[in-house]
Symmetry: C2
Subunit: 165 residues, 2 copies
C-alpha cells in the first residue's frame, strides 16, 4: 500500500493549482499582447513608472522594480532606442539621468492600457458580470490576507511554478 502510485491523487485540482494555472495563462496572454507592441513585460512596467512620475533617476526606478543598475541601463537603452523615453540631464546633479516619456511613449502607454483592457475582457469572457465581480472580490481578499501589496506584481524577475498536483 504505497498509497497513490496508481491513478490521480487529486482528481479535482485545489485552488492553489488553479490559481497558478489560470494566473500563468493570464500572464502569458498579456505578455503576448505586449509583444505585439514590441514590448517585454518589464518594458511596460518601466514605461508606466516613468509615466507616473517623470524625471526620476535610473537607480530610483531600478530599486522600485527590483533591478540592479546594470540591468536598468539595458532596459532604458532599449526603450530609448524604441523612441518611447529619453534620458535628460539633471541640472541639479549631473550624475543623474532623468527619465522622461516621449510623445510616442505616451501614445504607446495608452495602447498598453487599451490592450490590457481587451485582455481583461478576453480572459473573463466566459464569466458573467456578477461572477467577475465575485472573483475580483475573492482575489482582493487573498491579496490582503496573503500580505501581498495591492497593485504590485510579485514577479518582475521571477520564474514560476510548473505543473504540480
Amino acid at each position: 500500500m504505497g498509497a497513490d502510485t496508481s491513478g490521480d491523487h487529486m482528481v479535482v485540482p485545489g485552488a492553489a493549482f488553479l490559481l497558478s494555472q489560470v494566473g500563468m495563462h493570464s500572464s502569458r496572454l498579456w505578455r503576448e499582447r505586449m509583444g505585439e507592441l514590441g514590448l517585454d513585460p518589464r518594458h511596460v512596467v518601466l514605461l508606466r513608472l516613468v509615466g507616473a512620475e517623470e524625471g526620476r533617476s535610473q537607480l530610483a526606478l531600478g530599486n522600485q522594480m527590483g533591478l540592479p543598475p546594470s540591468r536598468m541601463v539595458a532596459f532604458v537603452d532599449e526603450l530609448e532606442r524604441l523612441g518611447l523615453l529619453e534620458r535628460r540631464a539633471n541640472p541639479d546633479d549631473r550624475r543623474v539621468r532623468a527619465l522622461y516619456l516621449t510623445a510616442k511613449g505616451r501614445q504607446t502607454l495608452e495602447a498598453v492600457m487599451k490592450m490590457s483592457a481587451e485582455h481583461e475582457k478576453e480572459l473573463t469572457s466566459g464569466l458573467s458580470e456578477p461572477q467577475v465581480k465575485r472573483l475580483r472580490h475573492l482575489l482582493s481578499r487573498m491579496v490582503e490576507e496573503q500580505g501581498l501589496t495591492p497593485g504590485v506584481h510579485p514577479g518582475v524577475s521571477v520564474l514560476d511554478g510548473p505543473k504540480e498536483l
Copy 2:
C-alpha cells in the same frame, strides 16, 4: 487631452491582473516548499509523471513536458543523483532508458503531496470554506472557457507577466 499621465489609471486592478498576481504568489510559495525537499518544480513534474506510469522512455516524458531530449538528460541525471528514480535497460529496445521510481522516490512523492496540501491550506487560509469552493468553481469555469487543459499547468518552462496595469 493626454489622458492619464497623472495618477492611477485603474485604481482597482482587474481580474486579469489579480489572477496573475495571486497565481504567481501561489507558484512562488509552492516552489519554495518544493525547494525544501531539494526539488525544482520540473523535478516534481517529472517525478509525478514517472510515478503515474513507470518504465517510459525519456523522450516520451520529455515530449509530455515540452522539454528537448538534451534537457531531459540533465533532469533525469539530477533526480537519479538524488536517488529518487533510476534508469533501467529496456529488454525490448536497448536504446531506451526506462525510468522507474526508487523507494525513496515514492516517499518523496508522498512528501510532495503532503506539502502541496499544506500549501493549499496556507494559501486559502484567509477564505471561508464556501468561499474557497466558490473560487474553485469560478476558476474551473475559466479553465474550461479559456481552452486550458484541466490539471495541466501551462508554464513548465515559461517566464511570466510582471507588473501591468
